[in-house]
Subunit: 419 residues, 2 copies
């Protein structure tokens, strides 16, 4: 298909999404929750269909020599499908963000002013391997009143097509317009480009995936973007740290799950506690299979690799960590300002003044005191559902739940008021 044809096709689904979004914006919570339960039921009833489509994707990935961990992400099982259904039911159980009055007042002239949450309208999602994102995003967008255009990776195309077919049928059964959930047509980069250029047709784009994907969307899109999920997260062990807590936090932040954006990628230690802490933390990390890329102070320990600036800038997403000793708190802050991706950065300290200064000076989506960076998560924060973790400053920052998937409008009610 030519680039122009793909553009036309993408604009056509966007137009259908816009029309569907007008009805969805007016749907009641009860209508939306009914659709979410219908989607969950349909996924449960049509396991075989989705698993068969997924088997095609898995077979193709294996034939292409895709690494086993990527194939595992792609693979659906009855348990994973049940989890997708449960996710949709969980979203149905959450409050409807649409219509929430964010603020309100009666002005001196008697005008009634209400700032009310409304859907964005049409949301575009661009994401990589995991097919469960397809159902999660559809559910969160539907509940927040948004029509969604889904552009998963081509490696998951059969799975995504099967899931979307099931979900659309369920939406129709529940009495809503199926076009609130649509796949973006086309499997080449041209269709992603068309989506990024559909300003006015798509209200917001949310890329989820690796740093390369996100950077390209942020740079090329004329549609407003919510940037997500690149995490070069730090743990700073202060002079006044309880070193037992510090050890537990560093190990948890690095090793609890390595492939996630809230995993720690860099360790900073105050010089005053380096002599005491370094032998312990080096041994514990190495016992857990972690390779340390350290400055000369760390380098004095066996098995530590020398670190370059590239290491400090890196989001490893693996059993690797960069490490340095810093002369004081301000040096730790300066290091974090230079290298952090402003996702999640933690201080371990019993010193209230140091904690206050770190919290005020470190400008990240989440700043943690005596807690693992792994807590930056919609589920952990109690949001009930998460569409991603924003690392930008505009609109939403940190884990995004249902309220972050809305805009607002002012409703001004008078009785013939003029200026």
């Amino acid at each position: 298909m030519s680039t122009a044809d793909i553009q036309q096709d993408v604009l056509e689904v966007a137009r259908r999404a816009r029309t569907a979004s007008h009805t969805l914006a007016l749907a009641t919570r009860a209508e939306k929750d009914r659709a979410l339960h219908a989607m969950a039921d349909a996924l449960a009833e049509r396991h075989d269909e989705v698993l068969a489509a997924n088997a095609d994707d898995v077979a193709r990935a294996e034939a292409d020599g895709t690494p086993a961990n990527i194939v595992d992400r792609l693979r659906l099982t009855p348990d994973r499908l049940d989890a997708m259904s449960q996710g949709l039911r969980d979203v149905a159980g959450l409050p409807d963000p649409v219509g929430e009055v964010v603020r309100g007042s009666t002005l001196a002239n008697g005008l009634e002013l209400r700032q009310v949450r409304v859907p964005f309208g049409v949301v575009g999602m661009i994401y990589e391997a995991r097919p469960n994102v397809t159902a999660d995003a559809a559910g969160i967008c539907l509940k927040s009143g948004n029509a969604v255009l889904l552009r998963g990776s081509s490696s998951a195309r059969s799975s995504n097509a099967a899931i979307v077919a099931v979900l659309r049928d369920a939406v129709t059964t529940a009495g809503l317009d199926a076009d609130v959930v649509q796949l973006v047509p086309g499997e080449t980069r041209d269709s992603v480009k068309a989506l990024m250029r559909a300003r006015g047709h798509v209200d917001v784009l949310i890329p989820r995936g690796g740093a390369g994907l996100i950077r390209s969307v942020v740079e090329e899109s004329t549609v407003p973007v919510i940037e997500t999920g690149v995490g070069n997260c730090h743990v700073y062990v202060d002079r006044a740290a309880d070193l037992d807590k510090a050890l537990a936090i560093v190990l948890n932040a690095k090793t609890h799950r390595t492939s996630v954006c809230n995993a720690a990628e860099s360790l900073l230690v105050h010089a005053d506690v380096a002599e005491q802490f370094l032998p312990r933390v080096v041994a514990a990390l190495q016992d857990a299979g972690v390779t340390i890329h350290g400055d000369p102070a760390f380098g004095a320990h066996d098995g530590v690799e020398p670190a370059t600036d590239d290491d400090y800038a890196q989001e490893y997403l693996s059993l690797d960590i960069s490490a340095a000793v810093v002369p004081d708190l301000d040096a730790a802050i300066a290091h974090i300002r230079r290298f952090s991706s402003q996702h999640s950065d933690a201080i371990v300290t019993e010193d209230q003044g140091a904690a206050r200064r770190f919290v005020a000076a470190v400008d990240s989506a989440a700043v943690l005191v005596n807690a693992s960076t792994r807590f930056t998560d919609g589920g952990e924060f109690g949001f009930g559902a998460e569409i991603g973790i924003s690392t930008q400053k505009l609109h939403a920052r940190g884990p995004m739940g249902l309220p972050e998937m809305t805009s607002t409008k002012y409703v001004v009610t008078g009785d013939g008021h003029v200026r």
Copy 2:
């Protein structure tokens, strides 16, 4: 100067702004308010200097044959300078948005979660003729903890340079870093381009001015943008309207001030009241000097020009209004969805059901019931200060006051918590 040199110069001021923003983010409300009063005092004390610079701009504009209304916008007077000082004092009197806890809870595991307002960091303002925006923007940014890079129009370059020199001296006197207020160097479009490409160095760009300026920033910028102020605003007179209120609202919305974004540009009238209302509204608008660009129903009246789709799409900013009769409420909503710039749209009706449906279905920054579109304004809404009116859905929508000039961060406090 070469494009590369200008880029370097713009990045250099952005870097200085970043450094200054780190200190400003930690400044207390008292320190910031002291600086705002010092800025107001300095502008009052140095009238002559600013007026002399302004006289240069005015002379140049007149020599270039600039239209009188544009020259008037450019011209400063002692009264206008006093108003700028008063604006800075008003901002000092407003609550500090930084540090406000937007939400907070203690999680099941005892972690304390707080979502706190923080400054963006570095804000870029791109704006047209009025030099008062220079002081207004500097004041609002300083109070919200943001370093600002100001890029006014070259027609106001002497005025803006003089105002910024005065403000920077005052900031220094008050003990803050003068680099929280800087002019963007360079007077060609290259410097605007460099600002729009300074992603990572500038956190948000706010263009204020005509539709052309805003469109070009939105399309070319890789820095996140808050789109402001294009207003193709509608007044819809429903079948159940009180026609006296309707007449007053239409006249006020169109003629109270024509050059502003919340002025009405289009009038829609329900067919059932057209026979009764059209003669009155046509006469009243024409008496006020308004040219009506109408559909055939309006065209039956003397002096009404025929309207094309271009008229319905137009933001006149003059004594012109497009007008049409619609068969019903849904046709009014469809017309508004097609042509509105989603700034401010009003319905005049005594029918609660019609008002509810209009409010729910019209997706604009402000939807007004029985009130003039002219009320969409930070001052009217009681915000005390306004940096612009956002017409986008991301981050802020409608009039933007101090809280809209902030982002948030999550502060998570534990006692050695791990997952």
